[in-house]
Amino acid sequence: MANRTVEVELSTSGLDAQGRPQRVPLMSGDGGAPIDVMPHEAMEPELAGDHMLINIGPQHPATHGVLRLVLELDGETVVRCIPHVGYLHCGFEKIGEYRQYNQIIPWTDREDYLNSIGNNVAFALGAERLFGIEITERCTVLRVIAAELSRVISHLVWLGTTCIDIGAFTPFLWAFQERENVYNLLEGWVGARLTTSATRVGGMAADIPSGWMDGLQQFIRNFPQTLDEIDRMLTKNAIWVGRTIGLGVMSPEEAINWGLSGPMLRASGVAYDVRKDFPYLDYETYDFDVPVGTNGDVYDRFLVRMEELRQSIRILQQAADRLPDGPVNVDDARVILPPKSKATSEMESMIHHFKQVMEGPRPPAGESYVAVESPKGEKGYYMVSDGTSKPVRWRIRPPSFINLAAIPKMVEGHLLSDVIAINASIDIVMGEIDR
């Protein structure tokens, strides 16, 4: 168990060595005695005790999408927070009931759009359990690579946007530059950058092209340096520490009771990681650590996510080393299309292709709930089948929706400016919240 010591390095005027704002007495012009400033209550007595109603959003850059927060303020202190969501509601779950399983995969791109390929993997895992399919070795490792790349992208976007919210601009550029490299990798693999639709029930849309692993190895080599730079820039930065430490604290018991998951839960000291506790994709065979915070504040969430980026790189390296040869798709005529050359030359294959596309694969009646560790937390897909080619019910367990539900509790008693930092630390994606 390694402990980290944070000693603030960059001292800034107005902050003491611990990064807490200092009260600097106002000096009169002649450099002599401090000006005698009257307390606010005395100057404007009619303002004392008056609560103010403040509306943030739905169109506001710091709410990370179309989130609307209605705040009751006492001075600058938040007394109550009432969040409003739903501005991006598209009815994904309803549409899924009218689509075949493979046709739902593009919808999974569009809910948590920062983790699209990770959602594809999660959905395919859920559908495969419903079909009773065991995917191939190569596909398992490829999906681990996909899921971890997706975690890197999502955490980098979180890092960059949170820096912007708190007032640091440079790490945003560094993070988005690295994110661009990952998107280039994804583009080389599946042809799309943001909306990947990379998986199919029983396999992947495409195997990786030749030379792709070199690109991945290059990313694995270079990325830790960027991460170190960001680490040097932020982790001991007095402003960063001062604006994140002690904010939005959730105790371990509260975090579990409120259903928090992912880095939010681990920052509170609960070592619950779906990859470790309910493993999938052979995650139990990878050597990686789970970072756990102790204070459950915004700063710990930052540390946890930074460490998760490093652990993702470790997993990527191991996956790249072990990637076996062999087929990507399962040999199961129920779900996998025949090869194109056969579909255009053999009658049986053509009929098979036609029926597969027009009618869709049919799982046996049953239900499955498969949860994965998405960058935001426990992402679950619950599917109920009645034996037809379309699910009766397709439910997304949205981690950011449930994490956001705790925001009224987390911001209570903090300053208005800290609401932005706390909201950023939840790492919300409105596409996933509103679905």
Partner: protein, 233 residues
């Protein structure tokens, strides 16, 4: 300032020390049931209607009247400790005569167990079930969403109102099977209603109860509210 920051080598939410593994070759039906299902059937003999194991996941169907007692027991009992509520949702089947099912997905982090609890709501009766908000605060928004999408009332929820749709939404409950994919109204009517809502310009009565907030509203809005217009959400 010294801030401790730990790195653990294994998920240590569980204390039993048994290393979990990726499940393989799960049978469609049958297989080992979650031991909690047996314990539950022993503790509440009349209320556990049946136990299924589908794709390795244990489902316990319970009587609607005893949902709260069962959940409380699952949460509090030292040998179960279902401390984590993963999900609350509902399922309506295409067969119209089949009742609506409310589904809770529970996790016991200390024992690494996963349990699905279900109860059935007859369609021709009031769609009502006890809220588990008092046990897990996580149920707050999930139950609101379930109410919003299916019209199921969770009795005991402190703030059960629509969450994804706006309060004046008139078309019903979108995830019900009798709700058409395109909505009940024509596109023109939907557009007209959506434009006339302007939900971000509105405050709920709760929000307006904040001292003097009403006075801070724009003149035009005060006039509209004064004329008896309902507030949003």
């Amino acid at each position: 300032m010294t801030e401790k920051f730990d790195i653990v080598t294994a998920g240590s939410a569980a204390t039993d020390g048994v290393a979990p593994a990726t499940q393989r070759n799960i049978p469609h039906r049958g297989g080992a049931a979650n031991p909690s299902a047996t314990a539950l059937a022993t503790r509440f003999p009349g209320s556990v209607l049946r136990t299924d194991v589908v794709w390795g996941e244990t489902t316990v169907m319970v009587a609607r009247a005893d949902v709260l007692a069962i959940m409380q027991w699952l949460h509090d009992e030292p040998s179960e400790r279902y401390d984590y509520l993963s999900d609350v949702t509902a399922v309506e089947y295409r067969d119209f005569d089949q009742p609506i099912e409310v589904v809770w997905h529970l996790r016991s982090l200390p024992f690494r167990r996963f349990l699905r609890v279900k109860t059935q709501l007859e369609k021709n009766k009031e769609l009502e079930v006890a809220s588990v908000w008092g046990i897990w605060k996580a149920a707050d928004w999930m139950e609101r969403e379930c109410y919003d999408m299916f019209g199921i009332r969770f009795t005991g929820h402190p703030d059960l109102r629509r969450i994804l749709m706006w309060e004046q939404y008139k078309e019903g409950y979108p995830l019900r099977k009798d709700f058409p994919l395109r909505g009940r109204f024509s596109r023109a009517e939907q557009l007209r209603q959506a434009l006339s809502q302007n939900p971000e310009a509105k405050y709920s009565m709760e929000e307006l109860s904040i001292a003097d907030a009403f006075e801070d509203l724009p003149e035009e809005m005060r006039k509209r509210l004064g004329a008896g217009e309902r507030t949003g959400e």
